[in-house]
Amino acid sequence: MGNPMKIRASVKDGVTEVKVLMQHVMETGLRKEADGTVVPAWYITDVKALHKEKVVLLAQFGQSVSKNPYLSFRFKGGAVGDKITISWVDNTGDTRTDETAIAE
């Protein structure tokens, strides 16, 4: 089920800023262990951000997004208390969804 994300969302002057820190190893599939065995690729492929029911951002990731991916973006609208939901899917089919409420 993956590890929980940290999500912060705050609204100022009618614009909501969302910051997300996901927890994921983001293995490229190119790295080798000391004994030469290749560590299989394991990375988030898709991220979706919702403000209430509306999609506010879609992200597609490749292997070269850093471990524990960080993402921030802004959208117009949003009010204190509105729900922000972030979901991701990785290349093994694992998913994780977390939510937060917009703060001041």
């Binding site: 597609q60 490749g62 997004v65 959208f75």
Partner: protein, 159 residues
């Protein structure tokens, strides 16, 4: 541009590649019809060169533009974490793609912006070695590019 991207998607669907994943996403409600417009074909992420990545994305590399801004460190002490900020003063930004031209797979991330979301994004990428970070921004159907060199003193792919 859009047309090419969509044709590319269709080809993939016909070929059966990625159907499982798309079906899975559909099942999870992660993709909505009509939202797939500015998403790139998954095979663009597997491309090994810039040219391959761009052609899989259906993009012809546009000229450099000062309407889009890219903020990256000049020197990255740790190639595993290179902060990247892409922003733009353009209206109606639909898509932002981030690529590193010397990475084993140049396309790092692609973002799709629905109406109302500002044309900026911050993330962190891995860079195998000193190379250029390229940001492609699509606004009103037209692509813009900005490129900056990042000197990497320790590679991001370990091993």
């Amino acid at each position: 541009m859009n047309r090419e991207v969509n044709l590319e998607r269709r080809k993939t669907l016909k070929a059966g590649g990625g159907v499982g994943l798309l079906a899975l996403f559909g099942g999870l409600g992660l993709l909505k019809p009509g939202m797939a417009m500015a998403e790139v074909d998954k095979k663009a992420f597997a491309a090994k060169t810039m040219d391959e990545a761009l052609s899989a994305m259906g993009v012809i590399l546009p000229g450099s533009s000062d309407l889009v801004q890219l903020t990256v460190p000049e020197i990255a002490e740790n190639g595993a974490i290179v902060p990247v900020v892409v922003s733009s003063t353009l209206a109606n930004v639909e898509q932002i793609s981030i690529l590193a031209d010397q990475n084993p797979n140049p396309l790092a991330a692609n973002f799709t912006f629905p109406q109302g979301t500002e044309g900026m994004v911050t993330t962190r990428i891995k860079m195998a070695k000193t190379s250029h970070v390229i940001a492609l921004v699509k606004a009103d159907g037209k692509f813009y590019r900005v490129m900056k060199e990042v000197k990497v003193t320790a590679g991001g792919c370990g091993g």
